[in-house]
């Protein structure tokens, strides 16, 4: 019987470290978060590496100062509320405008990892809403 690996991306291949499996209610499925910075608060930015098992995804949420996603591994989706989902692959970039409700996460058949850089933070974090329901996720494609 094949043993299922506990991590989505072999660490020998990953560019950035996985970090810790999150227990946050802001995600569906297994998601690893590696907070990388910034320790310098005058940069007004927060950034880290986020890794998703297949089908794992953020809840709907928005960023008061906007966010950049840089896709480093696998395939996944970004969807802004009321828009079609955009398929993402390694090397792609997403500019998430300020205060736009959206989610991001892995494709059904692929791990997915991205660097996320929250901008213009001014001490305000993301505004979180509810999960992306299975009936939403299953009807993207």
């Amino acid at each position: 019987m094949e043993k299922k690996t506990e991590v989505p991306i072999p660490q020998s291949e990953a560019v950035f470290s996985l970090g810790e499996l999150t227990s946050s209610d802001n995600f569906t499925g297994k998601v690893w978060v590696n907070i990388m910075g910034a320790s310098d608060s005058t940069l007004h930015a927060r950034f880290g590496n986020v890794s998703f098992e297949p089908r794992a995804r953020t809840n709907w949420h928005s960023h008061p100062g906007g966010q950049i996603l840089l896709i480093t591994e696998g395939r996944g989706y970004y969807q802004a509320l009321g828009q079609p989902a955009r398929l993402l692959k390694q090397g792609d970039v997403v500019e998430i405008p300020r205060n736009v409700m959206h989610w991001h996460g892995a494709a059904p058949d692929s791990e997915f990892a991205h660097i996320a850089i929250s901008l213009n933070t001014d001490d305000r974090g993301a505004a979180w809403s509810g999960p992306v329901k299975d009936e939403e996720y299953n009807n993207l494609y």
Copy 2:
């Protein structure tokens, strides 16, 4: 006779595209720049992928709003003026404080690539100074 490759990182292995060989006087050696964003000016950020052949490096410069470097390939250096050079490898992160004079570039025996994210740009670009001279570069290590 071995033919020397013209690009520092095989594109089949690179996470982000090389972009164009720059002709800017702000660098020593061959440097490729791939501007990736931001098209949304309200994010107050500019970012892209920068790839260096061995020994290639930026001039001394500073960023009014600070910058983040995310190392995606190879080995290189970051040095702030008056400080020891810091050896960097894939997966490392550098937070460059506002207005600190510094340079970054490849190690003598390795290609090097990083994502650079300039923050809090407010339409002000980097302030450029002179090249990192060979006698400075050769005495790092």
